[in-house]
């Protein structure tokens, strides 16, 4: 059960520690169903922190997104820890970053929040309209309860409002943490990769037409890449101009190249948080591609990323008994 | 001639001559180019301080300051440092090869306003390239200006641009030229030290004088400090800024420093203007 008092107490203690630079959590957004990432530096600010089915942001992306400013002469770099609040999927992102040495274990203090699934804001806004007054939400007995403006409360079954990812989620509890805020939750999801199989069963022509249609609307805002906690190359190959691997033109060929390159760079690394699909302003179903590659890696190599900080990165390791039958 | 009706369409120019000013990784090469089209050649007009977009189709364009004065003849000179994709490709050009040029862009040094004044240029490294046109212009219209002082320095003697011309300037009667390098070298008889120190050594009087400076940001910072120590007013100090540019005509929105578009409101700015724009010295 979500315990907001405990959350805020722990947050206050954490931010007051000498070895913690700041804490990243979620707080109520500026309108409707929105929640925004909140960087807390002062203990007084913890009261705005929250945790609810609306907290869809994967905060692990900030571990690698935040720029390291040049240190002014005479000063020393601030090497204190960053405290991070994580759900199950977010913690897997942190684990994968640890495995790749993108982040050091001593640089992050992980506050685990077992999660019963976050909403798909697009689904919810379709149902209730794009409301302006801030809305509260909570998990109640397997349903999601919304406290709407005007005092009205509506409880909806999770299948109707949760993100697709959350319905098949097998890791709702943080896999690594320095402190767990409340009891672990029951694993409700089971992944048969139904959505992937559905697309797999189509003919090549149909699949090609499907993706050409989707990639035509891509506006190359790079929101999917920037929000992804595992896309953190300082010099992204898809931005390079010398040489130019992918043209800046937004025709379907270049867009396809961008999306495919990114998907392959994430194979065996994507931890299925679903953020890329959530942020896409033109609603491209990006998770279908990522989940296809996830399924391949899972089935053929029996490997799932983001679970064990001691493993070697999937694409950078080799076992003599790795399957090769689909290559040869 | 600014454009063919389409400001993005470049003219074709032939490289008449090219030579290295400096060598090494980030070497500087000067290109002397002449427009192929006679009409363009005849009607081209520019003033010291302006720039042009030069490049090659298939590679791209770069905004480079025109480092010759219109008084020198019907050609253009560009001194280009090899840095990225476009400048690398330009450096491969030999006499007879062609490049694309469009412009001139930007404002110029207010040469008319400065008539009757003493002119001091303070340059460092490649920063001498945008200062060369004003030096040549003043030399060609020597009677319009009271005095010309050139202060220029580089890391080493082999990093000095326009070496031949600077030696000539040294021997000119009515122009004073002061050179410096950062560290002692054999066969160097001039000042040793950074350009801001050389400036204090020359100790120019601010009376009826305009000081123009261009060079690495750190040099500009100290030159500005020293010019203030020498009691120069803000509107007596000029500099040229640079920023990443694409269109050159104030449309792509990229080159702004604060509310000033470097390609249109600049690149020449007085310190009085820049003081109010914190981003100018970023």
């Amino acid at each position: 059960m979500v315990d907001l008092d405990k959350l805020r107490t722990v947050a206050k203690e954490t931010v007051s520690r000498d070895d913690v630079k700041y804490l990243i959590g979620w707080s109520q957004g500026t309108f409707g169903f929105r929640v925004s990432p909140h960087f807390v530096k002062e203990p007084e600010e913890v009261d705005s922190l929250t945790f609810s089915p609306l907290c869809c942001n994967n905060l692990a992306t900030y571990l690698t997104l935040t720029e390291k400013n040049p240190v002014p002469r005479g000063e020393e770099a601030d090497t204190r820890k960053v405290a991070l609040m994580v759900k199950g999927c977010d913690s897997r992102a942190v684990v994968q970053q640890l495995v790749e040495h993108g982040v050091g274990r001593d640089q992050v203090y992980i506050i685990g929040c077992p999660c019963e699934g976050v909403v798909d804001v697009k689904k919810v806004e379709k149902k209730f309209g794009e409301l302006l007054e801030p809305v509260q939400a909570s998990w109640e007995n397997g349903k999601v309860s919304f406290q709407l403006p005007g005092g009205q409360v509506e409880s909806l079954p999770r299948e109707e409002v949760l993100a697709q990812n959350c319905l098949t989620c097998r890791y709702p509890n943080p896999v690594v943490s320095d402190i767990l805020l409340w009891d672990e939750v029951e694993v409700k999801g089971n992944d048969d990769y139904e959505d992937v199989k559905e697309l797999e069963s189509k003919s090549s022509q149909d699949k090609w037409a499907y993706w050409q249609d989707k990639f035509t609307s891509c506006i190359r805002c790079y929101s999917c890449r920037n929000v992804c906690p595992l896309c953190y190359c300082e010099d992204c190959i898809l931005d390079r101009l010398n040489p130019t691997w992918v043209f800046r033109s937004t025709n379907v060929a270049e867009n396809t190249a961008f999306q495919m390159a990114r998907a392959f760079h994430l194979a065996g690394r994507c931890i299925e948080c679903g953020e890329c699909e959530r942020v896409c302003p033109v609603d491209i179903p990006l998770m279908k591609i990522n989940r296809k590659l996830y399924k391949e890696v899972h089935e053929k190599y029996e490997f799932e990323p983001g679970l064990d900080p001691e493993t070697k990165p999937f694409q950078a390791s080799y076992r003599p008994d790795d399957k090769e039958d689909f290559i040869l | 001639m600014k454009d063919n009706g389409n400001p993005y369409k470049p003219h074709v120019a032939t490289v008449e001559d090219t030579w290295n000013e400096t060598y090494g990784d980030r070497c500087i090469k000067t290109f002397k180019v002449v427009f192929d089209d006679e009409k363009v050649r005849e009607s081209w007009e520019h003033l010291p301080g302006q720039c042009a977009m030069i490049g090659l189709p298939g590679v791209g364009e770069s905004m480079i300051s025109i480092s010759c004065s219109p008084t020198e003849g019907k050609f253009l000179r560009f001194s280009v440092m090899r840095m990225g994709k476009v400048t690398q490709a330009l450096h491969q050009l030999e006499p007879g090869d062609k490049m694309n040029v469009r412009g001139p862009y930007g404002n110029s040094f207010p040469v008319d306003e400065w008539k009757g004044k003493k002119i001091i240029t303070i340059g460092g490294g490649i920063g001498q390239a945008p200062l060369r046109p004003i030096i040549e212009y003043v030399k060609a219209n020597r009677s319009d200006y009271e005095d010309l002082t050139v202060i220029y320095g580089s890391r080493t003697s082999s990093d000095l641009c326009f070496q031949g011309e600077l030696e000539e300037l040294n021997s000119c009667d009515d122009v004073s030229c002061h050179l410096s390098i950062d560290v002692e070298e054999e066969n160097w008889s001039h000042f040793v030290g950074f350009v801001p120190s050389l400036l204090m050594d020359v100790n120019p009087s601010p009376e009826n004088t305009i000081a123009i400076t261009c060079g690495p940001p750190i040099m500009i910072k100290f030159v500005l400090e020293n010019l203030k120590k020498l009691n120069f007013e803000d509107d007596q100090i000029y500099t040229t800024l640079e920023n990443r540019m694409k269109c050159g005509i104030g449309k792509c929105g990229r080159c702004n420093a604060g509310n000033l578009y470097v390609c249109k409101d600049g690149p020449v700015f007085s310190y009085a203007t820049l003081k109010q724009v914190p981003e100018a010295f970023a």
């Binding site: 033109s249 942020v279 | 009706g5 062609k98």
Partner: protein, 338 residues
Amino acid sequence: MEHLKLSKDKLGDFVAKLGDKEVLVPQKEGEALKFVPLTGDSVPELDYANTSVPPKNAVFPQTETMLRFEWGKMETTAVTGEAKEKVFFGVRPCDARAKVIVDKLFTWDEKDPYYVEKREKSTVVGLACAEPCSNCFCTSVGGGPASTEGLDVLLTDLGESYLVQPLTDEGQSLCQAASDDLEKAAEGDVQAAEKVHQEAEKKISRQIDTGGIPEGLPGLWENELWEKVSQSCLGCGICTYLCPTCHCFDMQDEVEGFDGRRCRTWDSCMFSEYTMHASGHNPRPTRRERTRNRINHKYSYFVDKFDVIACVGCGRCISLCPVNIDILDILSKVKEAL
């Protein structure tokens, strides 16, 4: 110009009479609602709030070839003169106003031929808002749900019909071409439309008083608010690409085989390499500087140059920002700091 009326069942005929011009209407392309050419005999569906991609993509395409050349040769051919006559049908007043704002920049001194020829060949038929978007704040920046700036014709939904208000000569000739489908509007119709406009204005709940912001922003250069508001920014291009007044672009040479083109593509000041010099120096190294620049550009620098805030209050950046960075939140912090 007198008011006219178009009954909704005649909408298809009206559109068909627009002749050989390309008619752009809000439609789903893939999953996104944007302005796309109407095909065949379909009738435009005007029951929508606003498109995700603003209509700027038809006069300022995301990718536009400017010059063509053959690899290895120096001659370049400008790709102009190919613009087609277009009619934008059902544009919201905020997006139309945005066009007028962007026009100022693209015609400043040197006219941008690609943009200008497309703008000159476009006629804009607007649709007044009866139900403003939730994050709309157009009235705070000089607009309104029935603003006529940038429009040739304004339609107002009266239930069974539209009130049709020609505003310019182009708008007038458009209506004349379809005069069979139009009838004169009665005084009652005009008043009903007025009421729709007034009710809509009342429904706009997000407001900000921009007084003092353009002049005061430069003074807040080193203020700590920029750090706070940019911390959660992802540095993506959503706010800029989907903003109807944002117009920054990149120019790239692209060669495939021997066919070369110099094209321009949308660019965003929020990207990290936007101002990156070839030397590696970046005057705006972090998201703090880039956010500060974006707000200053829209609310201060553009005002200095063109006397108008480069924001029409459409609210797309607020609705679509993945981390809920809210421009009204930033502006209220600016006002607090002033």
